[in-house]
């Protein structure tokens, strides 16, 4: 990383390693404070952190959007019907 910095007592790479657990609300109080303090003083990590969170939010939106491809549901139903009757 270009000029990895120490901000709030933590290096950028240490904060990078905590980002998922931060996003999931899974950090203990100390870790949470490290991330927040670091990001307040490090523009690169602040920018990457919001990009990271936004990308994961986009991924979650996919669940609502996706349907079954044409015909898949009907063929499943037919297969189950023949299993149930036979």
């Amino acid at each position: 990383m270009l000029g990895e910095r120490v901000v709030g007592g933590k290096k950028c790479s240490e904060v990078l390693g905590l980002l998922s657990r931060y996003l999931d609300g899974d950090l203990d109080a100390d870790e949470h404070r490290w991330v927040v303090t670091h990001v307040e003083g490090c523009a690169a990590c602040a920018s990457f952190g919001s990009r990271f969170a936004e990308a994961i939010a986009r991924l979650r939106e996919e669940a609502a959007r996706e349907g079954l491809p044409e015909g898949v549901g009907a063929r499943l139903k037919a297969r189950l019907r023949s299993a149930q009757s036979g």
Binding site: M1, L59, A63
Partner: protein
């Protein structure tokens, strides 16, 4: 999940289906077929194979309904069946055994970590949809699998770890790696398709 029925209503449906009511089983299929297909596709990377896995999953579920226990959600139970079915189909030759897992920093750099000169934005939701699909599809099967379970199916960390046969810590590490790889892939997609 929006298509996820509540647990009580679902337990009632399962009881009816066990008693031989085909309408009740249809309702269960209706509620879960999208999730099972999505997961099967993440595992097989192939719509035709995913459809086979979907059918096998519900056929096994129909036969094995008596084996379902209320401790696990019905959806998780189906996903376990789907995973076993998909593993039988998975073409080993596409995997890369023994390859070293990249560390978070390597993955992070690909995802734009530390890239102070490129404050590019993630595209608006409607533009991003197909890029998201392509980015997810470009990842390796382990990454697609953990992301599908956690971000698309909305399983808890514990459920995901159990389903994958991993410790919670190992699952979290795999998830973080997968998310970084996804951010990198999405960035590449949007870079290639930006105006």
């Amino acid at each position: 999940m929006q298509d996820h029925p509540d647990a009580h209503a679902e337990a009632a449906l399962i009881a009816q289906a066990r008693a031989g009511d085909p309408g009740a089983f249809d309702a269960l299929v209706e509620a879960h077929q999208r999730a099972v297909f999505r997961f099967a596709r993440a595992l097989t990377h192939n719509d035709a194979l995913a459809e086979d896995v979907l059918q096998e999953t519900f056929l096994s579920a129909l036969e094995g309904l008596g084996a379902w226990r209320a401790e696990s959600s019905f959806r998780t139970w189906l996903l376990v069946i789907a995973r076993n079915a998909a593993l039988k189909h998975r073409r080993r030759d596409r995997e890369r055994p023994g390859e070293q897992e990249p560390d978070f920093e390597t993955l992070g750099r690909d995802a734009g970590w530390g890239d102070v000169d490129s404050p590019e934005r993630i595209a608006a939701s409607h533009e991003a949809a197909s890029a998201v699909t392509r980015a997810l599809a470009s990842l390796d099967v382990e990454a697609r699998e953990v992301l599908t379970l956690r971000e698309l199916e909305g399983l808890s960390g514990d459920e995901t770890a159990r389903l994958l046969g991993l410790s919670l810590a190992a699952m979290k590490s795999r998830l973080h790696r997968a998310r970084l790889a996804f951010v990198a892939a999405l960035r590449a997609e949007q870079g290639h398709h930006a105006r």
